[in-house]
Symmetry: C2
Subunit: 308 residues, 2 copies
């Protein structure tokens, strides 16, 4: 089944212990859709400026991503400047130039309206809710958010949370959203806000899914599930790791079409695998050069890493 | 097979978000031996002062721990004062009163000489090496250390590392010991220093084992293995979590008598289980009230948490 993802398509200027890069292709929807493209047809809704080249678009279309929903606007694309020199696990934002993204009003091409899966990447929750309402027939909705919306626009975020089958956030965001420092208790409070399931990401330490009675439609509250990251010898650029995790996770779910606890667990493994590729090179470079065989090999490594 | 553990038997005064406790029973050898006692006969070599009561000793002997190697010296027992108010994952040391521990010279009772497994908890590496030399017939040696010995007494620590079948350290210590910030590369450098296997602990994020060609005597370099922690809703006091992990891990290994990759992986799971009990109450309280059935239940939880 196909996924529609709405979110940022951007350029990133980055500094990490491995070096510096100017204006590499980035953005949540970019990383998400590249990762998801290995599993299922993926369609993007976003906005870019005049600096977004045919070569940039080809990175997506080469993987079969449908880019007809990427709107061209006058001006420059969203540009984020960040540094990981202090800590590979935490980005220091040096500059956020929203540019054309400041006036983003998502438009959904008519050809996208039959998408069965919808992923609301981290954008203004008002836009997230708007897109959700425009896609009333989707089978499953996933979403992300960030500290800014949790802190300054909670009342706009809450109606989005109520629409989500799966919310993906990091541990700091889960603590902020719930007011609980203990992750397990934070997850339970987040579930009370509406999402059927929450996945909490711990950066290089993997992620954990917490389920409610509503997660699988069986009325059963399933026990949490946790997935490791692979122990990579080279981490060049953590940007997009979480979005690539989301893309692999949601892409695998969409490829299966039905939701069971086992499919959910397998999807989290694929999420971790896709995140492991994302961080090995700057920008989208490693995901561009990933094959299905690479993915299956790492899936097996992750299984061997974690199974008795 | 029986384990001899040498290390601190102490009192801890603690402050955590859950409260304050004065002079609860602690020390690396205490936590280790309580955890190991559920799996195999365990013998302790340590030193205490006149403040160590019959009731304190009974905590150990009630679990079948052999305490004949705990020497009584004039003066007070080792007393550590620490706070976790800033961060449950990081202890701030407020005071370290070595007391009788300052002149600790381990004496091994003749009844302990047939111990097949030896665990060198975190003490002066000169003493660790001395104990190792006094136990030439042991089948397997595990050990721990800390930042102080790595930083200020590296030349004394290196001969100990060369004696170890398994070194257990945390990620910060692995980085310090190796000079590598990437954990996977740090582990490889640590293995070059001598230990056949290294387990790197990530606090609440679990631990990872890295193997060398010498790990299992088969000349094969096995791939890393990683274990999660359970997602506890209550973490009262992280003190002793690492020592309880080590006790569960080494205790299970000793109970099996033979070393295979599968037994090693299972031992790490039991290590994580024992660590999960340690942190739920202050001091030794939770381990004192743990049963075999509790342990098997958590082992199953940890399997369900991590297996596809």
């Amino acid at each position: 089944m196909s996924i529609l993802v709405v979110g940022s398509v951007a350029f990133d200027s980055l500094e990490t212990p491995s070096g510096k890069r100017e204006r590499v292709l980035g953005g949540a929807a970019t990383h998400f859709s590249l990762a998801a493209s290995f599993f299922t047809p993926t369609r993007v809704v976003g906005v870019v400026g005049e600096d977004f080249s045919a070569g940039n678009e080809k990175v997506l279309t080469d993987k079969g991503v449908d880019t007809r929903g990427i709107e061209r606007a006058e001006g420059k694309s969203f540009h984020w400047t960040g540094s990981y020199l202090n800590d590979l696990n935490t980005a220091d934002t040096l500059a956020t130039d929203l540019n054309v993204f400041a006036n983003f009003a998502p438009k959904i091409p008519v050809e996208y309206e039959d998408s069965e899966f919808l992923f609301l990447a981290n954008i203004d929750p008002v836009l997230q809710l708007d897109v959700r309402k425009k896609m009333p027939k989707v089978k499953m909705v996933g979403g992300d958010t960030m500290n800014y919306w949790i802190g300054a626009h909670r009342e706009k975020l809450l109606p989005v949370l109520a629409e989500l089958d799966v919310l993906l956030i990091n541990d700091a965001e889960a603590r902020q959203l719930s007011g609980e420092s203990n992750v397990a208790r934070a997850a339970e409070k987040v579930l009370e806000l509406g999402p059927k399931t929450v996945i909490i990401k711990f950066g290089e330490y993997g992620s954990a899914a917490f389920f409610s009675e509503r997660s699988f439609g069986d009325g059963v509250k399933h026990k949490p599930f946790r997935v490791h990251t692979l122990l990579l010898e080279e981490v060049m650029d953590p940007t997009g790791a979480g979005d690539s995790f989301a893309g692999g996770f949601f892409g695998y779910l969409a490829s299966q079409g039905t939701l069971t606890p086992e499919i959910f667990r397998t999807a989290m493994f694929y999420g971790s695998v896709m995140g492991s590729f994302a961080v090995e090179r700057f920008g989208t470079e490693r995901l561009e050069n990933t094959t299905k065989a690479d993915i299956e090999e790492r899936f097996q490594q992750l299984r061997d890493l974690s199974h008795l």
